[in-house]
């Protein structure tokens, strides 16, 4: 076993901006595979880059969302519209769980 080095982590925030190429690489998908995902509104390019697809930029927190979408699609065999719906509902469930947790103590 090699000596353990300490690896520093970086927080992914909505302020960090990535390109379509970064997104493709992170998710191991081609741009052609990512386009329908954008068309379904699962992720969206930053508004100020929206007009020209050649200059699309994304917030870095799209990456974990895309990866969740890919896993859901692959593991549960759901289409993109279903994946988009599942992600929206999961966001809502997450928010409600937090709310329940907060209320349980009051």
């Amino acid at each position: 076993m090699t000596k353990q080095e300490l690896i520093s982590a970086v927080i992914i925030t909505e302020d960090e901006v990535i390109s379509l190429a970064d997104l493709c690489r992170s998710c191991a998908l081609s741009a052609e595979q990512i386009l329908p995902i954008i068309e379904h509104g699962i992720i969206e390019p930053l508004p100020n880059t929206l007009s020209n697809s050649l200059h699309w930029r994304f917030s870095a927190d799209c990456v974990p969302r895309m990866q969740t979408a890919i896993r859901l699609q692959r593991d549960l065999n759901i289409n993109l519209a279903g994946t988009a719906l599942a992600l929206d509902l999961l966001d809502e469930v997450k928010m409600l769980r937090q709310l329940v947790n907060a209320l349980q103590r009051e």
């Binding site: 076993m1 353990q4 080095e5 300490l6 690896i7 520093s8 982590a9 970086v10 927080i11 992914i12 925030t13 690489r25 992170s26 998710c27 191991a28 927190d61 990456v63 974990p64 990866q67 969740t68 896993r71 859901l72 692959r74 593991d75 549960l76 599942a86 999961l90 997450k94 769980r97 937090q98 947790n101 907060a102 103590r105 009051e106």
Partner: protein, 321 residues
Amino acid sequence: MEYKDYYRILGVEKTATQDEIKRAYRKLARKYHPDISSESEAEEHFKEVGEAYEVLKDPEKRVAYDQLGAHWKTGQSGFKPPPDWNEGFEFHGGGYTADDSAGFSDFFESLFGQRRPGSSRYSADGRRGGFQARGQDSHAKVFIELEDAYQGATRSLVLQSTEMGADGRPHIKPRTLNVKIPKGLKEGQTIRLQGQGSPGFGGGQAGDLYLEIGFNPHSLYKVNGHDVSLELPITPWEAALGATIQVPTPAGKVELKIPPGSSSGKRMRLKGRGIPAKTRGDFYLTLEIVLPEKLTEKEKSMYQALQKEAARFNPRAGIGV
């Protein structure tokens, strides 16, 4: 090695039809999918269900497994398949039929053979090809304490990753990472470890590892985004007269001034005392007036005196009685 009852795992009878097995699997896969379930053991369940389905969905493997099960008695401690257990069975398409079989149990492996390159979602392998490519990014979940979000923390993580062995075959290898988790995280946020994903190809860079952060529940505090809250018990006289009292926060004790005439349920805010992100969260306190369980005679008479003196006050005036 433990015998695995794949029928029990899927919750179906041994006589279940292939359709029933498929339905049971789909239902459980949805229930235990790690992106959906909030259970801490969801991932293990999900893998177990996947493994059971991998065997039972395939009529050849199912028949072989059924024959093995007939020799199995409950209560038997260790399990070893008889050396000729699968004699006469022909498995098509190699041992595995699914792409995602890395991480199946030893039990499965002893029956249906060696693991072959698979891309488990939490230990992704890379793409094939003779070109130079950056490795794929991987993903895992990690739970931290609220205090870690205030101070940062160092965590040791064990991840399963696929590596090429000396024999030219891929092997699943546990990999331990010492990770420095930065302060200022909120629940559900993701952090990135550069170069810790799957290895690259042809000299390409390794991918990144993404860790999704969850918080372990705290006995005192509630967390909402970057804001943290606490229910603060105070005495009736502190509430009536005002007081300066000590309050715990995840970053240490602070002094808090309670204004005179504070009622139960009053919310107070300590600005910037929440999770120290770029925009710092706030720390909220909800006052809760608490009485001693039993009053002494003297305390009782003092309350009675107060009752007479403060008869002008009707807390229920607003509700019409």
